[in-house]
């Protein structure tokens, strides 16, 4: 029995005031000493050299592989960040597209940029012409809207001189309804 491992003083500290007499205390203490004798008689089986080597090898490798879970954790953290960045990129793209459209509208009118959309087969229900910041609508649809006007056309034109307004205004001029917008 290794008394240093389980001394009488420690026994008394663990079981304070539980014994009626010193004899009973010593008897109980000896019974616990027997427990330790049994424990000492059953040593732990040792690891073999191969087991030790394998454990070391895998542990040492596992130290390096620890970075993978860290990456996964960071990936989870980064995922919203990437989403946020993608949102920023998407927003910038849309803003760029919107400003490009506005820039296109505000470009000086060029006669050679005139684009006419005419339905095939001579259908004149609605003819749309684009020229810089101006769009011209004419055809049978517009004729029906304004029967009292000969060859009516609707001209939507963006003004460049006036400050932005929230009110559209239009004029009738030689059969043309001019809507000037600058929102």
């Amino acid at each position: 029995m290794d008394n240093r491992r389980f001394s009488l003083e420690e026994f008394k500290a663990l079981f304070p005031g539980q014994f009626e007499s010193p004899e009973q205390l010593l008897r109980e203490y000896r019974s616990f000493q027997a427990v330790f004798e049994h424990l000492d008689s059953t040593p732990v089986p040792e690891l073999s050299g191969e087991q030790k080597a394998a454990i070391f090898r895998q542990s040492w490798q596992g130290r390096r592989q620890n970075r993978l879970p860290l990456r996964i954790r960071l990936g989870a953290f980064r995922r919203p960040a990437v989403t946020f960045a993608a949102g920023i990129v998407l927003g910038c793209t849309l803003m760029l597209a919107a400003t490009s459209v506005r820039a296109g509208w505000s470009q000086p009118r060029k006669a050679d940029l005139r684009v006419s959309v005419r339905p095939p087969g001579g259908d004149r229900t609605l003819i749309v012409e684009h020229a810089g910041g101006t769009q011209v609508y004419q055809g049978q649809l517009v004729d029906g809207l304004y029967p009292q006007i000969e060859n009516p056309k609707i001209v939507i034109e963006r003004t460049e001189q006036s400050p932005p307004k929230r009110v559209l205004y239009g004029t009738v001029n030689h059969g043309g309804i001019y809507v000037v917008w600058n929102l």
């Binding site: 491992r5 616990f32 027997a34 427990v35 049994h38 008689s41 690891l47 454990i55 070391f56």
Partner: protein, 189 residues
């Protein structure tokens, strides 16, 4: 003997942190047997112990940077081993695993008559110790192992288990009573 064998644990740790495998090997072999004993006595299943020990050393190598020299490396290592073994045991139990006594080389007893008629052999004693340690909680068992097998002071055990010294004494008392009930009563029937 290599140059690493002459170095202290703390000096070795500095070298290991720079990725020196030989230094890590030296540190490992200094402490592997003790760590294995701690894990064995907490996990109580020899088939699970190597995995548990590997988990301990993986944590050690991963977290050497957190070791503070104000505490001895052995004490820090014991704490890592105890925590890892407790977690391993609980995880293993949650998975529905059952300790197979045959796997730890313990001869099962056919009946109580056999106990009475045969002299107490190591396998019988080991079985009774095993069952006694199974009866107590893993925290109580860990306190017992650290105190009486590794000689750790009560204060250090309390620090390791995150409880008060009075709780550690209670753990030790319950574990001792369970062991005595198994070893001195049943075996002496």
């Amino acid at each position: 003997m290599t140059r690493h064998d002459l170095m202290s644990d703390e000096a070795l740790i500095e070298v290991v942190q720079r990725g020196d495998r030989d230094a890590a090997t030296c540190l490992y072999h200094r402490h592997i047997d003790r760590i294995h004993r701690i894990c064995y006595r907490i996990v109580l299943d020899s088939s699970q112990v190597p995995d548990c020990v590997q988990e301990v050393w993986t944590k050690v190598f991963q977290n050497l940077g957190r070791f503070q020299c104000e505490r001895s490396f052995a004490a820090w290592l014991n704490a890592v081993a105890a925590h890892t073994a407790i977690d391993y045991y609980r995880r293993w139990k949650r998975q529905g695993s059952r300790v197979d006594l045959d796997e730890i080389g313990v001869e099962s007893l056919a009946s109580d008559e056999r106990v009475d008629s045969r002299p107490l052999d190591d396998a019988t004693i080991r079985r009774q110790i095993h069952q006694a340690l199974e009866e107590v909680s893993v925290s109580q068992r860990t306190a017992f192992v650290l105190r009486y097998f590794e000689g750790m002071p009560l204060a250090e055990i309390a620090r390791t288990l995150g409880c008060r010294e009075g709780t550690v004494r209670t753990h030790l008392r319950r574990c001792l009573l369970a062991l005595r009930a198994r070893l001195t009563v049943q075996l002496n029937q």
